[in-house]
């Protein structure tokens, strides 16, 4: 937690510094696309949100796996902290993609393989959060939620390869295509800057939420200790009165 506390201000100021530069490059400096015109500027928030939503899920699944295999409590805390961030990133990706779809494809939504698998990712994040918080004793939700997170990993390669395996409206990857990114530097630089800003924000939010989860667990431990002490005290008093 000391590392998290130390990194937090750096991540925040990194985001504050990178965001205006990224926005300037994305909205003012970069050219419009010859086909999609100015709607291409949605790319600069849609792509970082999509990449980070999937990364958040992978990290969540790794944390959950470490919790299931080695019973490492930090794995569970990390997954709990990541789930809402991943859900919001996924929602941003879906909403911006949908808004971008109207002028580009002529529709806000199609049950296309990429869009549907991304929607399933959102449901996985929401399902994880619902399951983790479904029990009166939060510790009981840890294991089922971790299993769901690990099983859901199967959706990540489906998202990635959906544009290759299925006939979809969504274009194929331009960033990670063979022979390097199929994008001019005038667009690649703003995308890189916005991605860096999103990474700083993502990690800062993760640090904030991790601190919160850590405090929540300590609170729970202290409270259960206090209750146990009270119960034991009452029992001892009852025994003493009975003996007297």
């Amino acid at each position: 937690m000391r590392i998290v506390d130390r990194l937090q201000p750096w991540l925040f100021w990194g985001f504050v510094l990178l965001l205006p530069i990224g926005l300037y490059k994305a909205l003012i400096d970069s050219p419009a696309d010859y086909q999609q015109h100015d709607t291409v500027r949605i790319l600069y928030i849609h792509v970082p949100a999509a990449i980070l939503a999937q990364s958040a899920y992978m990290l969540m699944a790794l944390g959950s796996a470490s919790f299931l295999i080695w019973k490492h409590p930090l794995g569970d805390l990390s997954a709990r902290a990541l789930a809402p961030i991943g859900a919001v990133l996924c929602l941003i990706c879906l909403v911006t993609g949908s808004v971008w779809g109207k002028p580009t494809w002529g529709t806000y939504w199609v049950w296309d393989a990429r869009l549907t698998s991304m929607l399933i990712l959102l449901f996985l994040f929401l399902g994880y959060m619902a399951l983790a918080n479904a029990f009166d004793d939060p510790a009981r939700g840890d294991k089922p939620a971790a299993i769901l997170a690990v099983v859901g990993v199967v959706n990540i390669p489906i998202i990635k390869f959906s544009v290759y395996f299925f006939n979809t409206l969504h274009q194929q990857s331009t960033l990670f295509s063979e022979g390097g990114p199929a994008m001019p530097p005038e667009m690649l630089i703003p995308l890189g800057l916005m991605f860096a800003a999103f990474v700083c924000l993502f990690l800062w939010l993760y640090a904030v939420r991790l601190r919160g989860e850590f405090a929540k667990v300590r609170l729970r431990a202290i409270r259960s200790g206090l209750i146990r002490r009270e119960v034991n005290g009452a029992r001892d008093r009852g025994l003493a009165e009975g003996a007297g």
Partner: protein
């Protein structure tokens, strides 16, 4: 304004070549979603840390302040 920021005061910039609705809706939604998430996360974390320091003043950041709050100075 040497960076070409004067473009911010033109109607063409906000119109985004007749696609302003799509571009600004996307950016607006993104800002709103992140703002809400950040606000709620900070509030929840602060609440938990405050409760923690109130229960156990010897722990955590700001414990000196929490201890001072827990034991108010005697009057007189």
């Amino acid at each position: 304004m040497g960076l070409g920021l004067q473009v911010l005061f033109t109607a063409e910039f906000w119109a985004m070549g007749e696609h302003g609705f799509f571009v600004w809706t996307s950016y607006g939604f993104c800002a709103l979603a992140f703002g809400l998430l950040a606000g709620l996360s900070i509030m929840a974390t602060k609440r938990h840390e405050r409760e923690l320091t109130a229960l156990d003043p010897s722990r955590g950041r700001g414990s000196v302040r929490a201890r001072a709050r827990a034991t108010p100075p005697e009057k007189g």
